[in-house]
């Protein structure tokens, strides 16, 4: 069996006296859709921030194995270095570049795959011109895939909410990731939009060969999408398994519904 694309070993994150993540283990294999669930404040977003380099974890290892490459440890790398190595993310509350156009937002995603420097920008030689043409073409192609082309020259701020969410995914995909981390992609969406998101995520996995790790509160979406689910509470992993296993796991039910639940069973 090949090495998991992302393997997290005994990861801990402490803020002062608060243990936000406590010796967490997790692994994601190529082509999987994995969900990370848990009650509010369980440490899910902190986990994302550790993995993507926004925080440096206090202890533990984060190992990635990009396709056709060797396993490498990425603790303590900066967010941009993590993205360069092939992990892209979206944010819980949409963080688009509001005053840039939709196309430019995606072009920013391409940034780390381009090389033009200051001299290139000023003299605009052949290689820079070609690179610029290519980036516009590539970015447009990504917008086509996510059916955002009708907004191409609109400012990101003027997009409807569902389209903003899609644009965030488009921007992340532009960085050519092998693993996409989605932080509550369905938050604030209506059932119709959630359904479309469900199809989109499966489509990304199947046609773009991108593995997916998502945090989500919409249980219907999580159960229908995920191959495997990890459950966190108070910074610890309390369960893992297939959707069926998680649904009937008493520990998970207790974490979600509280202690009193025992009294009724």
């Amino acid at each position: 069996m090949t090495a998991p694309v992302l393997a997290v070993k005994k990861l801990s994150m402490t803020f002062g006296g608060l243990q936000a993540i406590n010796r967490l283990d997790m692994d994601i294999h190529a082509g999987e859709i994995v969900a990370l669930i848990g009650p509010n404040g369980a440490g899910k977003t902190t986990f994302f921030n550790c993995v993507t380099g926004i925080y440096t974890p206090t202890e533990g290892d984060i190992l990635i194995t990009p396709p056709q490459k060797k396993t490498q440890r990425i603790n303590g790398l900066k967010p941009n270095q993590v993205t360069e190595r092939g992990m892209a993310r979206t944010f819980q509350n949409v963080r688009l570049f509001q005053n840039m156009t939709v196309l430019e937002n995606v072009m920013i995603g391409r940034h780390c795959r381009l090389s033009a420097g200051i001299a290139g920008a000023i003299f605009r030689g052949r290689s820079t011109r070609m690179e610029e043409e290519q980036v516009v073409k590539d970015s447009y192609a990504i917008l086509e895939k996510l059916t955002l082309t009708k907004f191409v020259n609109e400012l990101a701020a003027n997009l409807p909410y569902g389209a903003q969410r899609r644009l965030e995914i488009a921007r992340a995909m532009a960085t050519e990731p092998f693993l996409l981390l989605l932080d509550e992609p369905a938050a604030g969406m209506n059932p119709q939009e959630t359904k479309e998101l469900d199809d989109l995520i499966v489509w990304i996995r199947d046609t773009e060969n991108i593995s997916i790790l998502l945090i989500e509160h919409d249980m219907k979406l999580v159960m229908s999408l995920s191959d495997r689910i990890f459950v966190m509470d108070y910074g610890k992993k309390i369960a893992q398994g297939t959707p069926e296993e998680i649904k009937s796991n008493p520990v998970v039910i207790k974490a979600y519904l509280g202690e009193e639940f025992d009294a009724f069973t």
């Binding site: 840039m100 430019e104 940034h111 290139g120």
Partner: protein
């Protein structure tokens, strides 16, 4: 129609203004006769004036609200001119011939003012990189201007280095100091960054003022040579015209470079940094590198502007590099329209030329100037000519598929 409530509101405003202006408009101490004059007529005029103006003011606000969000009228005009060939050519030739003929049509005094304005255009475009594009609020920008000016003055004094050699050195030194300032403030943003850059600007000025052995202190450096042209002897008039055209070339060069940077990979990274620092990093942009290039490239223009300033005035001392200069340059960028090249140019021309031509209002000059700034920011918060993002055209074929 005008309602009773509105009349009441205007009446209160009038009373408030009478109260505010009472000490300066009504009371006057006549020191010759040791008398206090009560100019009641002024009070009535202020009252009537503010009563009428308040109606006008409210009318403007209502009109603005009815129009909804700000519509970019002027950018549309600029865009129409640049898109339509028939309009574009005559407009550009018109502007170009005016620029070329300016020093011959107007007096030397006017040309001199124009040269100062052009230096500020260059400074504004430089600061626009830092503030307008990268969103890093820099209140110490004048420090780099000082670095450029002193670089030329001192290099010339000690080593006899000429203007043309000093110009790139000034730019380079500006960039170096930009990185020097940029490095420690990488973690800071917004208000905190503003305070630190403000401190940096003051440090540079205080060093220049107090390190007598190095910078000749408050007495400054005199007899800085004007720029040369193949060793030709020139009168002051020709020299002024020469510096004018030199500045025009430098400004054109600045516009060219800034425009190219703005629409490049680096320019996009700057704007992304301005919009959202965390998302920008998560998209694979190296924050450190992007911030430092913004500081360095912004400061380069200030360094070069400083060299020209020293050559133009032939005398510099630390008084020319106070915090007030930084604020004026920042005003140019904000008033003109952050991130917009045409905006910054018009901002610089308005802010530098207006106070000169407002001399007709003599002592009320700065009052009129201040009022205009306030009105401007209330009615056009995006600046004179706000930035418009580049639109890309795609073929119909792509659109359908």
């Amino acid at each position: 129609m005008v309602s009773l409530a509105e009349i009441k509101k205007s009446f209160l405003i009038a009373i408030w203004f009478i109260f505010l202006t009472f000490p300066i408009m009504v009371i006057r101490v006549n020191t010759v006769h040791n008398l206090i004059e009560w100019r009641w007529r002024n009070m009535i005029l202020v009252g009537i004036g503010s009563f009428i103006l308040s109606f006008f003011w409210r009318h403007l606000f209502k009109k603005k609200e009815r129009k909804g969000p700000e519509k970019p009228k002027i950018p549309a005009l600029v865009k129409r001119i640049s898109d339509d060939r028939r309009l574009f050519l005559p407009v550009i030739t018109g502007i170009a011939s005016f620029i070329v003929l300016f020093p011959f049509l107007f007096s030397m005094y006017q040309t001199n003012i124009m040269v100062s304005a052009l230096i500020y255009v260059m400074l504004g475009l430089g600061l626009n990189i830092v503030v307008g594009l990268a969103g890093l609020l820099d209140l110490g920008y004048v420090a780099f201007y000082a670095v450029g000016a002193y670089a030329y003055a001192l290099l010339n004094y000690h080593f006899g280095i000429g203007f043309w050699f000093a110009l790139p050195i000034g730019g380079l030194l500006g960039a170096m100091f930009g990185i020097l300032l940029g490095y420690p403030v990488l973690r800071l943003r917004g208000d905190y960054l503003a305070i630190v850059t403000l401190g940096f600007g003051e440090i540079i000025r205080l060093i220049l003022e107090n390190w007598n052995d190095f910078s000749f202190g408050p007495s400054g450096i005199a007899n800085i040579p004007r720029p040369s042209l193949f060793g030709l002897e020139m009168s002051i008039e020709t020299h002024t015209i020469y510096i004018y055209f030199l500045m025009i070339c430098l400004v054109l060069f600045t516009i060219f470079v800034v425009n190219r940077l703005q629409n490049s990979r680096i320019g996009r990274a700057w704007i992304a940094l301005r919009e959202d620092e965390i998302a920008c990093q998560a998209m694979g942009i190296d924050k450190t590198k992007t911030k430092l290039t913004a500081f360095a490239l912004g400061a380069t223009w200030a360094g070069m502007g400083g060299v020209v300033f020293a050559a133009k005035t032939t005398f510099i001392n630390p008084v020319s590099f106070t915090i007030w200069e930084s604020i004026i340059i920042l005003c140019i960028v904000v008033l003109g329209g952050m991130g917009s090249i045409i905006g910054v140019i018009s901002g610089a021309l308005v802010l530098i030329l207006l106070p000169e031509y407002l001399r007709a209002f003599s002592e009320y000059r700065m009052l009129v100037f201040g009022t205009m700034l306030v009105v401007m920011m209330l009615f056009r918060p995006g600046g004179l000519i706000p930035d418009v993002r580049k639109a890309y055209q795609f073929k119909k074929r792509n659109m359908e598929s």
